[in-house]
Amino acid sequence: MADAVIVVSLLLVAVTATAAVANRDPARQALVLSVLGLVLAVLFTVLQAPDVGLSQLAVGSALTPLLIMLSVRRVKRRGQPKDGGR
Protein backbone atom coordinates (compact mmCIF):
# COMPACT_ATOMS: atom_id res chain seq x y z
CA MET A 1 0.00 0.00 0.00
CA ALA A 2 2.65 2.47 1.07
CA ASP A 3 4.70 1.48 -1.96
CA ALA A 4 1.84 2.28 -4.30
CA VAL A 5 1.50 5.70 -2.70
CA ILE A 6 5.22 6.29 -3.18
CA VAL A 7 5.06 5.35 -6.84
CA VAL A 8 2.04 7.55 -7.45
CA SER A 9 3.54 10.57 -5.72
CA LEU A 10 6.85 10.11 -7.51
CA LEU A 11 5.08 10.10 -10.85
CA LEU A 12 3.05 13.12 -9.81
CA VAL A 13 6.28 14.95 -8.94
CA ALA A 14 7.71 14.16 -12.36
CA VAL A 15 4.56 15.32 -14.13
CA THR A 16 4.16 18.50 -12.10
CA ALA A 17 7.82 19.42 -12.53
CA THR A 18 7.46 19.02 -16.27
CA ALA A 19 4.32 21.13 -16.21
CA ALA A 20 6.10 23.81 -14.20
CA VAL A 21 8.79 24.04 -16.85
CA ALA A 22 6.38 23.86 -19.75
CA ASN A 23 4.24 26.70 -18.43
CA ARG A 24 5.93 29.68 -19.96
CA ASP A 25 3.78 32.29 -18.25
CA PRO A 26 5.38 33.10 -14.90
CA ALA A 27 2.12 33.78 -13.06
CA ARG A 28 0.72 30.43 -14.06
CA GLN A 29 4.06 28.82 -13.41
CA ALA A 30 3.92 30.09 -9.84
CA LEU A 31 0.63 28.24 -9.37
CA VAL A 32 2.09 25.05 -10.80
CA LEU A 33 5.11 25.47 -8.57
CA SER A 34 2.93 25.67 -5.52
CA VAL A 35 1.22 22.47 -6.63
CA LEU A 36 4.69 20.98 -7.06
CA GLY A 37 5.51 22.04 -3.53
CA LEU A 38 2.38 20.32 -2.30
CA VAL A 39 3.09 17.11 -4.20
CA LEU A 40 6.67 17.09 -2.94
CA ALA A 41 5.44 17.56 0.61
CA VAL A 42 3.18 14.54 0.18
CA LEU A 43 6.04 12.52 -1.26
CA PHE A 44 8.33 13.46 1.61
CA THR A 45 5.71 12.52 4.13
CA VAL A 46 5.25 9.07 2.62
CA LEU A 47 9.02 8.76 2.52
CA GLN A 48 8.85 9.18 6.30
CA ALA A 49 10.35 12.66 6.30
CA PRO A 50 7.69 14.79 7.98
CA ASP A 51 10.18 17.52 8.90
CA VAL A 52 11.18 18.09 5.32
CA GLY A 53 7.59 17.73 4.19
CA LEU A 54 6.49 20.46 6.55
CA SER A 55 9.18 22.89 5.47
CA GLN A 56 8.56 22.08 1.82
CA LEU A 57 4.91 22.87 2.38
CA ALA A 58 5.75 26.20 3.97
CA VAL A 59 8.53 27.18 1.58
CA GLY A 60 7.69 25.45 -1.68
CA SER A 61 3.98 25.91 -1.84
CA ALA A 62 3.60 29.23 -0.01
CA LEU A 63 6.73 31.35 0.18
CA THR A 64 8.35 30.80 -3.21
CA PRO A 65 5.16 31.17 -5.27
CA LEU A 66 4.29 34.25 -3.24
CA LEU A 67 7.64 35.83 -4.03
CA ILE A 68 7.22 34.96 -7.70
CA MET A 69 3.73 36.46 -7.78
CA LEU A 70 5.00 39.66 -6.18
CA SER A 71 7.78 39.87 -8.74
CA VAL A 72 5.36 39.28 -11.60
CA ARG A 73 3.20 42.04 -10.26
CA ARG A 74 6.11 44.42 -10.02
CA VAL A 75 7.30 43.63 -13.53
CA LYS A 76 3.78 44.02 -14.94
CA ARG A 77 3.36 47.31 -13.10
CA ARG A 78 6.08 48.89 -15.15
CA GLY A 79 4.58 50.97 -17.86
CA GLN A 80 1.34 51.59 -15.99
CA PRO A 81 2.64 54.01 -13.39
CA LYS A 82 -0.55 54.65 -11.45
CA ASP A 83 -2.07 51.71 -9.74
CA GLY A 84 -4.35 51.10 -6.84
CA GLY A 85 -3.41 49.92 -3.40
CA ARG A 86 -3.48 46.23 -4.15
Partner: protein
Protein backbone atom coordinates in the same frame (compact mmCIF):
# COMPACT_ATOMS: atom_id res chain seq x y z
CA UNK B 1 23.74 31.79 -30.61
CA UNK B 2 20.45 31.19 -32.33
CA UNK B 3 17.65 29.43 -30.53
CA UNK B 4 18.01 26.51 -32.85
CA UNK B 5 21.71 26.01 -32.16
CA UNK B 6 21.12 26.30 -28.46
CA UNK B 7 18.36 23.71 -28.62
CA UNK B 8 20.73 21.36 -30.42
CA UNK B 9 23.45 21.90 -27.86
CA UNK B 10 21.04 21.26 -25.02
CA UNK B 11 19.65 18.17 -26.73
CA UNK B 12 23.04 16.61 -27.41
CA UNK B 13 24.66 17.41 -24.09
CA UNK B 14 21.47 16.69 -22.18
CA UNK B 15 21.35 13.24 -23.76
CA UNK B 16 24.94 12.61 -22.77
CA UNK B 17 24.35 13.77 -19.22
CA UNK B 18 21.12 11.77 -19.00
CA UNK B 19 22.94 8.62 -20.14
CA UNK B 20 25.62 9.15 -17.52
CA UNK B 21 23.14 9.80 -14.73
CA UNK B 22 20.91 6.89 -15.63
CA UNK B 23 23.93 4.59 -15.69
CA UNK B 24 24.82 5.91 -12.26
CA UNK B 25 21.28 5.32 -10.98
CA UNK B 26 21.51 1.69 -12.04
CA UNK B 27 24.61 1.35 -9.87
CA UNK B 28 23.01 2.96 -6.83
CA UNK B 29 22.01 0.72 -3.95
CA UNK B 30 18.37 -0.33 -4.53
CA UNK B 31 15.72 2.06 -3.23
CA UNK B 32 14.73 1.18 0.32
CA UNK B 33 18.01 -0.53 1.19
CA UNK B 34 19.06 -0.92 4.78
CA UNK B 35 22.67 0.25 4.81
CA UNK B 36 22.85 3.69 6.42
CA UNK B 37 25.94 3.75 8.64
CA UNK B 38 25.92 7.48 9.30
CA UNK B 39 22.17 7.47 9.88
CA UNK B 40 22.38 4.77 12.51
CA UNK B 41 25.20 6.50 14.30
CA UNK B 42 23.15 9.70 14.27
CA UNK B 43 20.16 7.96 15.86
CA UNK B 44 22.34 6.52 18.62
CA UNK B 45 23.93 9.90 19.27
CA UNK B 46 20.54 11.60 19.43
CA UNK B 47 19.25 9.10 21.97
CA UNK B 48 22.40 9.49 24.03
CA UNK B 49 21.66 13.19 24.25
CA UNK B 50 17.95 12.81 25.08
CA UNK B 51 16.70 14.40 21.89
CA UNK B 52 13.49 12.75 20.74
CA UNK B 53 13.51 14.16 17.22
CA UNK B 54 16.67 12.83 15.62
CA UNK B 55 16.48 15.37 12.84
CA UNK B 56 16.59 18.18 15.37
CA UNK B 57 19.57 16.50 16.96
CA UNK B 58 21.37 16.28 13.62
CA UNK B 59 20.49 19.86 12.76
CA UNK B 60 21.22 21.52 16.07
CA UNK B 61 23.74 19.26 17.70
CA UNK B 62 25.65 16.86 15.49
CA UNK B 63 25.72 19.03 12.41
CA UNK B 64 24.95 22.34 14.05
CA UNK B 65 27.88 23.85 12.16
CA UNK B 66 26.04 23.21 8.88
CA UNK B 67 23.03 24.94 10.31
CA UNK B 68 25.24 27.89 11.17
CA UNK B 69 26.22 28.09 7.52
CA UNK B 70 22.65 27.78 6.41
CA UNK B 71 21.51 30.47 8.80
CA UNK B 72 24.23 32.73 7.47
CA UNK B 73 23.00 32.09 3.93
CA UNK B 74 19.55 33.24 4.98
CA UNK B 75 21.02 36.22 6.77
CA UNK B 76 23.16 37.11 3.76
CA UNK B 77 20.24 36.73 1.38
CA UNK B 78 18.10 39.05 3.47
CA UNK B 79 20.90 41.57 3.65
CA UNK B 80 21.38 41.16 -0.08
CA UNK B 81 17.69 41.72 -0.80
CA UNK B 82 17.64 44.80 1.41
CA UNK B 83 20.56 46.17 -0.57
CA UNK B 84 19.30 45.13 -3.99
CA UNK B 85 15.72 46.25 -3.47
CA UNK B 86 16.57 49.59 -1.96
CA UNK B 87 15.09 52.66 -3.45
CA UNK B 88 17.19 53.59 -6.42
CA UNK B 89 18.20 57.14 -7.26
CA UNK B 90 15.47 57.58 -9.82
CA UNK B 91 12.61 56.10 -7.87
CA UNK B 92 10.10 57.49 -5.45
CA UNK B 93 7.53 56.07 -3.13
CA UNK B 94 3.83 56.26 -3.77
CA UNK B 95 1.45 55.68 -0.94
CA UNK B 96 -0.91 52.93 -1.97
CA UNK B 97 -4.58 53.77 -1.75
CA UNK B 98 -6.50 51.91 0.92
CA UNK B 99 -8.79 49.46 -0.79
CA UNK B 100 -12.03 47.80 0.17
CA UNK B 101 -11.85 44.18 1.16
CA UNK B 102 -14.70 41.75 0.81
CA UNK B 103 -16.10 40.92 4.19
CA UNK B 104 -15.72 37.12 3.90
CA UNK B 105 -12.10 37.49 2.88
CA UNK B 106 -11.47 39.82 5.76
CA UNK B 107 -13.14 37.52 8.26
CA UNK B 108 -11.31 34.51 6.93
CA UNK B 109 -7.94 36.21 7.07
CA UNK B 110 -8.44 37.65 10.51
CA UNK B 111 -9.53 34.31 11.91
CA UNK B 112 -6.79 32.30 10.29
CA UNK B 113 -4.07 34.79 11.11
CA UNK B 114 -3.78 34.25 14.89
CA UNK B 115 -4.24 30.51 14.46
CA UNK B 116 -1.42 30.37 11.95
CA UNK B 117 0.93 32.55 13.97
CA UNK B 118 0.33 30.52 17.12
CA UNK B 119 0.67 27.33 15.11
CA UNK B 120 4.02 28.53 13.83
CA UNK B 121 5.23 29.30 17.33
CA UNK B 122 4.03 25.91 18.52
CA UNK B 123 5.93 24.20 15.73
CA UNK B 124 9.07 26.11 16.70
CA UNK B 125 8.76 25.26 20.38
CA UNK B 126 8.35 21.53 19.82
CA UNK B 127 11.18 21.21 17.33
CA UNK B 128 13.28 18.82 19.35
CA UNK B 129 10.33 16.53 20.11
CA UNK B 130 8.11 16.20 17.07
CA UNK B 131 8.46 17.00 13.39
CA UNK B 132 8.99 20.69 12.93
CA UNK B 133 11.32 23.22 14.41
CA UNK B 134 12.76 26.63 13.87
CA UNK B 135 12.70 26.58 10.09
CA UNK B 136 9.23 25.33 9.53
CA UNK B 137 7.62 27.27 12.33
CA UNK B 138 9.49 30.43 11.44
CA UNK B 139 8.34 30.38 7.84
CA UNK B 140 4.76 29.60 8.85
CA UNK B 141 4.58 32.39 11.43
CA UNK B 142 6.14 34.96 9.13
CA UNK B 143 4.01 34.09 6.15
CA UNK B 144 0.91 34.08 8.31
CA UNK B 145 1.57 37.63 9.39
CA UNK B 146 1.09 38.64 5.80
CA UNK B 147 -2.47 37.43 5.80
CA UNK B 148 -3.06 40.84 7.26
CA UNK B 149 -2.36 42.29 3.85
CA UNK B 150 -5.07 40.10 2.42
CA UNK B 151 -7.52 40.74 5.23
CA UNK B 152 -7.06 44.38 6.09
CA UNK B 153 -4.68 46.38 3.98
CA UNK B 154 -1.12 47.27 3.39
CA UNK B 155 -1.04 50.08 5.92
CA UNK B 156 -2.34 47.85 8.69
CA UNK B 157 0.39 45.43 7.83
CA UNK B 158 2.98 48.17 7.98
CA UNK B 159 1.92 49.18 11.45
CA UNK B 160 2.40 45.73 12.97
CA UNK B 161 5.53 45.11 10.98
CA UNK B 162 8.25 47.65 11.62
CA UNK B 163 10.74 46.22 9.17
CA UNK B 164 13.71 47.86 10.79
CA UNK B 165 13.00 46.15 14.06
CA UNK B 166 12.72 42.80 12.35
CA UNK B 167 16.08 43.36 10.69
CA UNK B 168 17.66 44.04 14.04
CA UNK B 169 15.96 41.00 15.57
CA UNK B 170 17.21 38.92 12.66
CA UNK B 171 20.81 39.86 13.29
CA UNK B 172 20.40 39.45 17.04
CA UNK B 173 19.18 35.91 16.49
CA UNK B 174 22.26 35.23 14.37
CA UNK B 175 24.45 36.66 17.12
CA UNK B 176 22.68 34.52 19.70
CA UNK B 177 23.41 31.38 17.72
CA UNK B 178 27.05 32.39 17.37
CA UNK B 179 27.39 33.26 21.04
CA UNK B 180 25.94 29.90 22.02
CA UNK B 181 28.53 28.32 19.79
CA UNK B 182 31.37 30.41 21.13
CA UNK B 183 30.41 29.50 24.70
CA UNK B 184 31.71 26.04 23.90
CA UNK B 185 35.09 27.42 22.85
CA UNK B 186 35.31 29.60 25.94
CA UNK B 187 34.47 26.63 28.14
CA UNK B 188 37.38 24.76 26.66
CA UNK B 189 35.38 22.28 24.60
CA UNK B 190 34.64 22.74 20.94
CA UNK B 191 32.67 25.28 18.95
CA UNK B 192 28.92 24.58 19.17
CA UNK B 193 29.57 21.74 21.62
CA UNK B 194 26.40 20.61 23.35
CA UNK B 195 28.03 19.71 26.64
CA UNK B 196 27.35 22.70 28.86
CA UNK B 197 23.70 22.20 29.71
CA UNK B 198 22.04 19.14 31.27
CA UNK B 199 20.31 16.94 28.71
CA UNK B 200 17.06 16.82 30.72
CA UNK B 201 14.33 14.23 30.67
CA UNK B 202 13.79 12.47 27.37
CA UNK B 203 10.76 13.70 25.45
CA UNK B 204 10.15 16.91 27.39
CA UNK B 205 10.35 20.48 26.14
CA UNK B 206 13.62 21.22 27.92
CA UNK B 207 15.43 18.07 26.83
CA UNK B 208 18.44 17.97 24.60
CA UNK B 209 20.76 20.52 26.20
CA UNK B 210 21.58 23.25 23.74
CA UNK B 211 19.17 22.01 21.11
CA UNK B 212 16.06 23.97 22.20
CA UNK B 213 18.08 27.17 22.50
CA UNK B 214 19.64 26.88 19.06
CA UNK B 215 16.26 25.89 17.71
CA UNK B 216 14.68 29.00 19.18
CA UNK B 217 17.43 31.20 17.75
CA UNK B 218 16.85 29.69 14.31
CA UNK B 219 13.10 30.09 14.66
CA UNK B 220 13.47 33.76 15.43
CA UNK B 221 16.01 34.25 12.67
CA UNK B 222 13.90 32.53 10.03
CA UNK B 223 10.71 34.31 11.06
CA UNK B 224 12.35 37.73 11.00
CA UNK B 225 14.22 37.00 7.81
CA UNK B 226 11.09 35.93 5.96
CA UNK B 227 9.20 38.97 7.22
CA UNK B 228 11.93 41.27 5.93
CA UNK B 229 12.13 39.43 2.61
CA UNK B 230 8.41 39.62 2.03
CA UNK B 231 8.37 43.26 3.14
CA UNK B 232 11.01 44.16 0.55
CA UNK B 233 9.15 42.41 -2.21
CA UNK B 234 5.82 43.94 -1.19
CA UNK B 235 7.54 47.30 -1.14
CA UNK B 236 8.57 46.77 -4.72
CA UNK B 237 5.22 45.43 -5.79
CA UNK B 238 3.16 48.11 -4.10
CA UNK B 239 5.07 51.21 -3.13
CA UNK B 240 8.20 52.00 -5.07
CA UNK B 241 7.65 53.58 -8.43
CA UNK B 242 9.89 54.58 -11.21
CA UNK B 243 10.38 58.32 -11.21
CA UNK B 244 9.01 58.76 -14.72
CA UNK B 245 10.91 61.86 -15.76
CA UNK B 246 10.51 63.64 -12.46
CA UNK B 247 13.93 62.57 -11.21
CA UNK B 248 13.44 63.33 -7.56
CA UNK B 249 16.22 65.00 -5.74
CA UNK B 250 17.89 62.98 -3.07
CA UNK B 251 16.74 65.06 -0.14
CA UNK B 252 13.13 64.79 -1.19
CA UNK B 253 13.48 61.05 -1.40
CA UNK B 254 14.96 61.14 1.99
CA UNK B 255 12.04 62.93 3.48
CA UNK B 256 9.51 60.66 1.86
CA UNK B 257 11.10 57.48 3.00
CA UNK B 258 11.79 58.93 6.39
CA UNK B 259 8.08 59.45 6.66
CA UNK B 260 7.45 55.92 5.59
CA UNK B 261 9.86 54.76 8.16
CA UNK B 262 8.69 56.86 11.04
CA UNK B 263 5.34 55.17 10.78
CA UNK B 264 3.64 58.40 11.79
CA UNK B 265 1.01 57.96 9.12
CA UNK B 266 -2.43 58.38 10.56
CA UNK B 267 -4.23 56.00 8.29
Amino acid sequence: MSRRTRLWLVAVSGTGLAALLVAACLELPPFGGSSHPYGERAVRAALARHTANTIASVNFDQRAYDTLGEMSILFAAVLGCVVLLRQARDEHRARPEPAEVDLPVRRYALIVLPVAVVGGLYVIAHGQLSPGGGFQGGVVAATALHLLYLGADYRALERVRPVGLFEVADSLAVSAYLVLGLAGVLAGTAFLANTLLPYGTFNTLSSGGNVPLLNAAIGMEVACAVVVLLARFLDQAVEIEQGNGKDDKDDKDDKESEKENGKENGA
